[in-house]
Amino acid sequence: MADINDVYNAFIASIMGVLYPAGSPSPGLPSPVTGTVCRVYAGWPAGQGLDADERAGIVNVSVFSPPSPFQNTTRYPRQWTTTSPPLVTITASVSGTAVTFLTGAPTSVPQNIAIVVDGQAFVYTIKPNQTLSQIAQAMAALISLSRPATANGQSVIIPNSHSLVVRAGGFASAVSELQRITRRFDVHLFCSTPAQRDQISGPLVPVLAGAIFLPLADGTSVRTTLTGDSVIDSTQKPLCYQRVLTFSGEYPVTDVGTFPEVVIASGYVQGATAGIDAFTPANPPPVSIPPGSPGSPPPTLTDVLLTQADQALQEQSGPYLQTQ
């Protein structure tokens, strides 16, 4: 969920990328830019610490949004957009009346496993760090509530089944923009000397001023525009040389959600429930003969809906199908 704090973090990440390009520094590690320790944070420094840092040659970079005109620039309709596609690690195979889980567990990646037995779907959400055998046992227990099923190692045996399909689906992350805000953000450089300020400004200002978008944690971005740049020497008595970069930041306030990938779909068409059967070579999906092809009957509404649902199921890496 993006908010002003995420914008702070975006600025901080960008600044840290300049001052400590090798990544998170160990305590006391000087920045290769200044040769001294640099501190980067959101909010204002505390005076006592800043006094001590200025005398020790330590740079403080503070990111803050001062009281300033606030503009609500909301202009996009609310809709969910995938930021992270579903990830599937579980693999399985079908042989005769057995479904065997092959690889992909134990894992902490949340996934749903579906086994469709003679047109009846059984869906199970795996638990973190379950083994393949444990998943097979859980599936067998679930199926056995409706019909005989047993687990044998990593396999689930469903006697007398004629059609078996196994599917695994992951969970996608999506974001929806609720509002769009434009407000001012200041990046304060508190340096001990003018030379130190120049050392930092040289590489930092082009990066910040040149970045049109800074990424936010939820996959959205803040659009930044440099609108002011002040060099302040009037605070040199306490050995504080400042530079204040002022940005206009436009960012979305968002909601984020996690949505399961569709492994089983059903439609309700003209009073009848149409299930998606196992699409096996012996049971081809209705889309195997595209409507309108020579020799095919005219497509019905059911055909169209099933075709759309099947396409969504087949495109594992494509846009997920929202089930809401």
Binding site: L50, F190, P194, Q236
Partner: protein
């Protein structure tokens, strides 16, 4: 017929005898190096010294006071000498008039004095502005008295403008008379950094027979 100096000498000798009964010996230093006022090179004597607010030894000290009457054999001391007593407290003599009591200032810290960077070259100069590295040290580790002065009511906080800012407090700094041989003058805008790490900008430096009475602003970010 005793001369005034003879009389003073006798009185001072008497002070010394009294101090001998009241306090252990103290070290007497006469600074010869502006960068090392207290050291083996400036140790000139060891004398008993006793300090009080009155001759009856009945008055305790009070907040804001650094000036004490002093019993010491002043035949061997001068104004500006430091006395480091048995408790390792430093004092400096600010007056030993021949017919008046001897008075000293009790020090509560040490301080170093700096001249801010000056643009002195003819023609092009480096970037203007004072930094720690470009300040010129001219007095180092001098025991001084730094006590609260009168901070202007409603005075402006520091120019940095941090949320936690307070008014920059004013302090009174007392420094002994400096030997003429140093050819040093403490002036306004000079910087003082004390042993507590505080940093001051001198607003006014009064020089009198006692030494320097300095009004200083503590500078804060």
């Amino acid at each position: 017929m005793p001369t005034p100096l003879n009389i003073a000498a006798n009185i001072w000798r008497g002070y010394g005898i009294a101090a001998k009964h009241l306090a252990p010996p103290a070290q007497i230093y006469r600074p010869t190096d502006p960068l090392a006022p207290i050291g083996s090179g400036s140790l000139i004597n060891t004398l008993p010294a006793s300090f009080a607010l009155d001759t009856n030894y009945l008055k305790p000290n009070r907040y804001g006071n650094a000036v004490w009457r002093t019993l010491i054999d002043a035949r061997f001391t001068l104004v500006g000498d430091y006395i480091v007593d048995y408790e390792d407290i430093s004092w400096f003599i600010i007056e030993q008039h021949i017919d008046l009591p001897i008075i000293s200032v009790q020090c509560n810290c040490t301080a170093s004095f700096y001249t801010p960077q000056q643009q002195t070259a003819t023609g092009e100069n480096p970037y203007g502005g004072n930094t720690l590295a470009t300040e010129t040290l001219y007095l180092q580790n001098w025991p001084v008295s730094i006590l609260q002065g009168l901070t202007p009511i409603g005075g402006a906080p520091s120019k940095v403008g941090l949320p936690g800012d307070t008014t920059e407090p004013r302090w009174n700094i007392l420094l002994p008379v400096l030997p003429d041989s140093f050819d040093i003058q403490v002036i306004q805008r000079d910087i003082v950094i004390d042993s507590l790490g505080r940093r001051f900008a001198i607003e006014a430096a009064e020089i009198s027979e006692f030494g320097y009475r300095i009004k200083a602003q503590q500078v804060l970010t």
